[in-house]
Every structure is written in C-alpha cells, then in structure tokens.
C-alpha cells in the first residue's frame, strides 16, 4: 500500500528484493555478463561513460547491468561512484589532431587529404530487421547485415582492415584561408563544473563541460529545434572523427609528461553560417562537440547547441530555447532532471493538505462556487 511509504521499512526491503528478481529475469536463461555488455552493447556503454563523466568501460557496463538497461539510471549510478574517487592529477588536454582515426567524414568537401573514412556506422544501412540475429547463438563470426548496402563508396579507398591514421583537420584548412572564426587556447585554467557551482553567463569551458554531461535526448531535441527555425544557425558537419587519443599527465615530481593510456573519443566540428564580426570581417562561425567512445548523435547535437549558445557573441537575437544559456545548461543534466522529476513520487501529504485546506476555504467564501458534494465519511452515518 502507498501509505506504507511513510516508515514502510519492510515494504522498501520487499520492493528491492522484487527489483533484484525482476532485473535477473527468468533464471533458466543465462545471466548477462558485464563483459558481454561492454562488448555487445558498446554504444550504450559509450553513452553512459560520456554522461556519467568517467571513462571506464567495465564500470559503465556494470551500471547498465545493475540498472536493467535503464541508461539514465546507469548514468546516475556511475556519477554516484565517480564522486567518491580521489583526484590525483589533471591530465594534459587531449590532442584530437593526433587521433588514430577509425572513422572520419566531412559533409563539406567531397574529398580531402586522408579521404572520407566511413569506419563502422549505421549510416546507409537500410533499417530492416535482420531476423538472422534471432537465430544467432554462441560464438559466431559476424557478417554484415543483408540489409546493409552492398555497393562500396569508391570516393574513399577502404581496405578491409583499415589501418588507423593521423589526419589533418578540415576546419584548420578553412582557418588558414581566413574563412572561419579561429579557436585559440588562451592558456586560462578551464572551469570544472564538477567542483564549482554554475554561474551565468558562464565560461565557454564550463558550458562545453555541461553539454558533454548533458542528456543526449535533450540536446538532440534542442539541436533539432535550431534546424527547424528556432535559433537557426546554418550548420554543416565540417568534420566528424572517431578514434583513439593519448591521455598524458605531468607529475610535479617529474616535470615532464607521461602517457598513461588511450581513450576513444568522437569529435564533431560544425561549420555554421557566416556572421559579421566586431572588426567588420565576415567569417564562418563554428560549434563544437566531443564525447567518449562512438557517440556521433551526441556530438552533432552538442555542436548545434554550442553554436546556438554563442548568439550573444555574434550579436544575434536570442529568442529561441536553444539560445538561452541558463535555460539549456540548468536543465540538460539528466541526473538532476530525473531526480527532481521523480521526486514527485515522494509523499507530499503535508504540502498538499495545506493547499487543500486553502482551496476549500476560498470556495466556501466564494458564492459562485458550486456546492460541494458532501464526502461520504463526513455524513456521520
């Protein structure tokens, strides 16, 4: 019974036992291992790592298992663990120009140095259910879905096992020609949204951090709204690249940097409509997206929203939701949002009672209010 929420210790214990049972499902079916999740649901793992703000495939897979596939819950679990970890070092900025590229596409140039490398992607597959997967069992060699297009693009030279390679950035070439607003490192210490509370208007570094942690669905919808006229910014996917980058730290006692490992990231650099700058020059503007793993939808959405949030910088009218920094950043975190929305399930007896009492009194004083039907229990039968 709902009433039992108040002090219902036994009820809570029972609910959690039932949850554990439901999570496990039919015990005659083999349990899903964390390794299987990390290998075969890798895109879910990527999303959980990105929004959970920690690069650890095993922990993210564990969180997905524990949350029975509820990714927002998994992100929450990972965040809650992350916050308990001590920080040893701040890593050097990763250099995505040095990325070992697995996939790189540009929608702005048909061909360019390094070519278009499709890598692994759902793009250009026909979304027809592949019923053969129903019968897949045990250890089988993967075969391309029959629904996938069989013709190969010849614009890019694709070997069957493409060797990762380093590639020049597309936007750098436009920068060199002076056609694109430049992004430069001003050497200031970036904000840390996990340590300091937000202040608005906020620093670009704080904004980008919030967007990386932001809910993919929310950013997707906001990015989409800019494409439909609510804060339009004429986007072109200048470059999207996915691959491994080195992570380095510089311990104080050593004084030089050492590589401690590699992580897979996806980066999207958006080229947006040109604008007249303060010095009267006219250049393309840009938006930026970055995420752990292979998270293309997220980085594209982030790029769109990042550009929309630069409205003030380019003296654009700020009338659409995606252009309101405070609105976007204070609502994009799904751990915060999901927490507060779900708190409505908590008892609110007292507050509601106060409202109830007031409404009854107001209606009594108001002669036009319909006469109440006397509640059964007050009939005094």
């Amino acid at each position: 019974m709902y009433v039992a929420v108040k002090g219902g210790e036994q009820a809570i214990t029972n609910a959690h036992q039932l949850l554990a049972k439901r999570r496990r499902g039919d015990t005659s079916v083999a349990a899903l291992s964390v390794k299987q999740i990390s290998e075969q649901l890798s895109l879910a793992v990527d999303r959980v790592m990105t929004e959970g703000s920690i690069y650890d495939r095993e922990l993210a897979a564990l969180a997905i298992k524990q949350s029975a596939g509820d990714l927002v819950e998994a992100i929450f679990l990972l965040r809650a663990y992350r916050t308990t970890l001590s920080r040893f070092y701040t890593s050097e900025p990763i250099n995505t120009t040095q990325m070992q590229v697995e996939r790189r596409i540009s929608a702005t140039f048909k061909d360019l140095p390094g070519g278009q490398v499709l890598g692994s992607t759902f793009d250009y597959t026909h979304r027809l259910l592949d019923f053969k997967l129903l019968a897949e069992d045990g250890i089988a060699t993967p075969s391309a879905s029959v629904a996938a297009t069989t013709e190969q693009t010849s614009a890019s030279e694709q070997a069957s096992e493409p060797e990762p390679e380093k590639m020049t950035r597309v936007l750098k070439m436009l920068e060199r020609e002076g056609l694109l607003v430049e992004e430069t490192d001003d050497d200031s210490t970036p904000a840390d949204v996990t340590q300091d509370p937000p202040t608005y208007p906020c620093d670009r570094s704080a904004r980008l951090q919030s967007l990386v942690r932001g809910d993919e669905g929310f950013l997707l919808a906001l990015g989409y709204s800019t494409q439909r006229g609510y804060g339009r910014n004429h986007p072109f996917a200048g470059e999207i690249r996915t691959g491994e980058v080195d992570v380095a730290i510089t311990p104080d006692e050593l004084g030089f940097s050492i590589d401690i490992g590699t992580i897979q990231v996806t980066e999207c650099e958006m080229i947006n409509g040109f604008s007249k700058l303060e010095d009267n020059d006219v250049k393309f503007t840009r938006g930026y997206g970055l995420a752990f793993g292979q998270s293309e939808r997220k980085t594209l959405s982030m790029g769109l929203v990042d550009r929309a949030l630069q409205a003030e910088r380019y003296d654009e009218e700020r009338i659409s939701p995606a252009q309101q920094e405070e609105f976007v950043l204070s609502h994009c975190d799904n751990v915060e949002a999901s927490g507060f929305v779900s708190h409505l399930k908590l008892p609110h007896y007292v507050d509601f009672q106060a409202e109830l009492e007031l409404l009854r009194r107001l209606r009594k004083e108001n002669p036009t209010s319909a006469k109440p039907v006397t509640p059964v229990q007050e009939k005094g039968e």
Partner: protein, 304 residues
Amino acid sequence: MSAATIRDGYNFAYLDEQTKRMIRRALLKAVAIPGYQVPFGGREMPMPYGWGTGGMQVTAAVIGADDVLKVIDQGADDTTNAVSIRAFFKDLTGVETTEKTREASLIQTRHRIPEAALQEDQILVYQVPIPEPLRFIEPSEVETRKMHALEDYGVMHVKLYEDIAHFGHIATTYAYPVMVNGRYIMDPSPIPKFDNPKMHQMPALQLFGAGREKRIYAIPPYTDVKSLDFEDHPFEIQQWDESCAICGSHESFLDEVIMDDLGTRSFICSDTDFCRERGPIEESINMPVDTPIDTPIDILRETL
C-alpha cells in the same frame, strides 16, 4: 515485373498499395496547385528522417517496373547516400538503374538539378528537408499557412533586403526562394541557387517530398518559376573563376576538393555524369567511360 528480383516478403517498391494510392492523391493535388504544400500521411521508411524519406516515398509511389532510375546526391551518382538509395530500389523493385541523365525516366535527387536539360518524359524527384520557405522567418506552421493563404509574403522580401543592408548582397546561396506560377512562394529544396533557373519552364515534371515534415509539392511541366529579387538587385547565379580540372567545363556547378595537407584546391564538376559525358580535356587524363566505379576524383588523383 519479375517478382523473383524483389526482396522476399516486401511489396514492389516497399510501400503497400494503399499507401502508394494516398501519396499519388497528394501528388495529383500538388500538380494541380503548383508550389502549394500538400500535407500527406508520411510513413516510416527504413532510412532515417532527413536522409531522403520524402523523396523515397514519392519515388516509391510513382515508380513502375519499366522505369529506369537514376539517384544522385550533390550531383553525383557515387555519393554514399545515393548509392544506398539506389541499392534500396534495386533490391525492392528490380528496375533498371542508370547513371546517365538522358537514359533515366525517373531521377531522385538531393541538392542538385542535373546539368543536362531534362525532357518531357522524365520525372525529377527532390528530397526536401524543410518544405516551408517562410520557416526561418516564422517558426509556427499555423502562421505560415495563413501567410501563404493570404499571399502575405512581405516578410520574405524584408529578409532579402536585410541581407543587402548587412552584406551588400542577398546572402542566400542555396534553398533560394522562388515564386511558382505567380502564386506560391516555394522552397526549391537546398539546391544551390545556380540551379534555380533550370526549374523555370522545365519540360520534365518536378515532384518534391518532405518525409519528416509530411509535405508534398510539385511543379508541373512548363511552369513559370521565378527566383525572388529586387529591380536594383537582380537575381544572380554563382560563377567560378576556375574551370573543371577534368573536363574543363566553365558552365557547370563546381565542387572544391582539397588535394593535400597544405590546402591546395582543385575544382571538379559536381554532376559526375555531365563531366564523364564531356570527357577529359587532356589526353593524359585517362577516363574509362565504361567503368562507372572510377569516379572523377579517382581519375584526378591518378593524373597528379
């Protein structure tokens, strides 16, 4: 039609016959009111929205077993999405496909109109992302439908005029709005404005499909299509100082390609069939006409 050539378990051209009939009704209405956006019951397609689902539904509704289909994206037959859509229709209709503009009876396109003039017996199907030309001035559909009904198009001219005030030019380079048959302002889909004049009095039937927004519109053959402009700022199309590095064309739309890390640029025709038809300017450029797999870009690379 030989049923054996079609993927098992699916109807000819994927959509069921009821759906095709619904789309054909919308098409007939669209042809009867040139430039007017007809709402239709857009269906889910096995490709993502924004990747040509509207064009595909129109193509699926009009394609017959005798059709010869050409699919282009950015003017080229070899772009990934064109390859994918062509493979889809090959798989689900078994019709003959071609890369030659003149041989096609049905051409589905994204972002370009072929350079070769189209003929009376051809149909050009455009993939449309945002069918509403007024959308970027007025986000609300309720308002824009009213504006179309009342021919309240002043805001569009104000927008173009603001461009002139800011940049000295009309700053719209693609999806440049047109007036169709002297009545409706229409979005020509994001074709470069270079292609706009080709729509005017075109002998071929032009059909436009917007899947996500669930709108169909059309320009019947030999219809007036005028790009919006001002007396003192007449409509102009893009021009290049360069010519195509392969065929030497001065009159086609050129794509910029980057040849090396220093950003060395070269230009080639965006319309691959047009380029192949003209042939190379120099003997040294070896262009194997019969192997469509060798794209202009491969040829250019080999030459350098």
